[in-house]
Symmetry: none
Subunit: 219 residues, 4 copies
């Protein structure tokens, strides 16, 4: 797992100082939780994979639940939030000839990030339905996302869409989650890399048409 960028993001959060040993623990926990699930992973397994004593796991994280909450909190903070907003400013400032071009650029950007972050999302998705604290955390972060900016950009590229901002955001989220959820989290084995790229292009074409206003269509 050495190669994942988000791991470094999670581990090198400047607001908290964690020792190298603790980094090993978190790294091991993320790997195991995403492969086997939280409940099916024992603290002993985590300690062994991390190469530390079982007792050390409980030094920074008094309980196993604290460990996963720490991980999820930092996934949201350092990975989920940047995942959605990263490169948004650049995208926003760059002019696009068409809505399709913009969506393609946007999707391509997310595609890489989501594929790389798959282990994190698996952890999130497992725990969200059963942990209200996590849902609350997520919703709070959501509000900070520059979703309205994306929507505005879409509206003003080409001719104005006749969907309002909130609808646009909802539609984008729907398509994004629908696309990645089945392909990466649920059925990774049936969606090889090259097919994902192709499917994404089709989806973007579909979306760029969908956003066209009645007016545009009649041009």
């Amino acid at each position: 797992m050495e190669e994942y960028k988000w791991l470094n993001n999670i581990l090198n959060d400047d607001t908290e100082k964690i020792t190298d040993k603790q980094k090993l623990i978190i790294r091991a926990a993320i790997e195991l939780f995403s492969k086997q699930g939280y409940a099916a992973t024992s603290t002993r397994e985590i300690a062994q994979k991390a190469g530390v004593a079982e007792g050390s796991v409980f030094k920074l994280f008094p309980t196993k639940k604290d460990l996963i909450l720490w991980i999820i909190k930092h996934i949201i903070k350092t990975s989920l939030f940047p995942l959605i907003s990263s490169g948004i400013n650049e995208l926003m400032e760059k002019p696009f000839n068409s809505r399709e071009d913009f969506l393609n650029a946007f999707f391509e950007n997310r595609l890489e990030l989501i594929q790389e972050g798959a282990p994190l999302f698996k952890i999130l998705i497992q725990e969200i339905p059963f942990q209200p604290e996590i849902r609350a955390m997520l919703l709070e972060q959501f509000k900070k996302l520059p979703l309205d900016i994306i929507a505005k950009k879409l509206i003003t590229t080409e001719i104005n869409s006749d969907f309002n901002e909130i609808d646009i955001i909802n539609i984008i989220i729907t398509c994004l989650t629908g696309f990645f959820f089945s392909r990466i989290i649920m059925f990774p084995e049936i969606f090889p890399e090259n097919r994902i790229k192709n499917d994404a292009a089709v989806l973007v074409r579909f979306m760029s048409r969908g956003f066209k206003s009645e007016k545009e269509q009649n041009l």
Copy 2:
């Protein structure tokens, strides 16, 4: 949970005879698994909620895993499959004025079924990522679905779409799962009933535009 239709569908599968006590066990297990997750639910809890002895849980289901696999198998068989295909034949034979009308009818149909089946989907989604057997079961069932018929109907309603059948199916699945996954499984509390209906209408409008072929748009 008495009120859920699918419970009766699951419990009254004619190919298998299960006793009333076993129905109580399955009912309790579904409720607890969907609320707390499989791993976090003990067989003792299930027995208590069902009002039977712990030993009775193991009469029909030799292991706890057999219990959840039974449930998932029957969810797929009696609920997931009908969920997607129910009313499809009627929809297919009925003429629609526009693609939007057809999609609206289709979505409305699914909406009810999915909302009602939410506990089942929560169980499925938790276990899919960690149980290859379940993924295999699902993929097998998927092949039996009349997805191509839906796609054909869409193509032939109004003027032909220039997406091919497979793309159409993928897009519909993407939109459906994206729509319901976030609204019902992940964040049920932030999507009240009336908003779901409104959002669905917006999505359908978006989709019906998206499926328009270039030709149509230029008419």
Copy 3:
């Protein structure tokens, strides 16, 4: 197991009337106890092998322990006792040229019986060390055995042995149990049939010499 004579002896004890169903249960229990041990055999297994309902096992035998005690009691009564004494009267009345001839005849007799009764002895040996009731039962039966007659016969065949009766009995029991215990109960796989017969002949030669009195040896 149909072919074992002792089974009929056990099952057709005239002093107790047992139904055909009960015979099936006893037959199954003997087979399973001797193969797997008492504790490792469940009442369900017995019922299944016997082809009866679990409840039926508890009709004649209120507890599982009652079942094995019944079996052991009847093994001792109908099999162990006859095993040691069967044919003794004939042997006693027949004249033998030498002590070796007599011992050979005696051993041959026992050999068959013990080999056939092996499953019964396995059951006995397992339970003797842990059940004082069984030990008491056995010791009571032992007293009834015509051991003294055998000893007398040995003494009077050829020239008198200078061992007394009790010693002779002890020696015979020692040699018999030592011979069969290792060969049939403990390591059946390393003692093929033909080797047992040969070993028995050697042992008998050894014994017949051992019983020779000092006087005899000097003749």
Copy 4:
């Protein structure tokens, strides 16, 4: 059980380091297994008798079966093997006037060891008939025993016996097991100490005569 020498032998095997707590567990397990049998002893009972937590039983021995196999392996290694071969070298080098003297010395030696090791033999005997692994272990060890040396000594003491080595070994094993099996394992209460010594002397006299060759007897 503090007083048994073999316990120290088992517990202080230099090739394996076991903690004091583990020694308590093994000690308790041996005591309970030999009194009640393996299947009738629960891990909870063992833990209580050892004065440790139940979980600790499973630290060194992942399953209950591993525990008894460890014990049996170490009984064979540190007790059964020495039991048969201990003092053999001294016996072999010492000259004896007669075969009876040699056998007496040999028996006396074993007598003490077997009486003291009775609990171990009870464990062995219970499990041998049902556990092929144990039989295999035993047979392997048997091959390493200096049985042929004993046989040679017997042959060369006084005048040559006309039994061959294998026969001599078989006869000795038959007499030894027959003697101890009934007296110590099966019916310990009916053979008081003083009687065992006397019986052993009679048996040895019997055996020393039995081994005499025809030639010798005619001298």
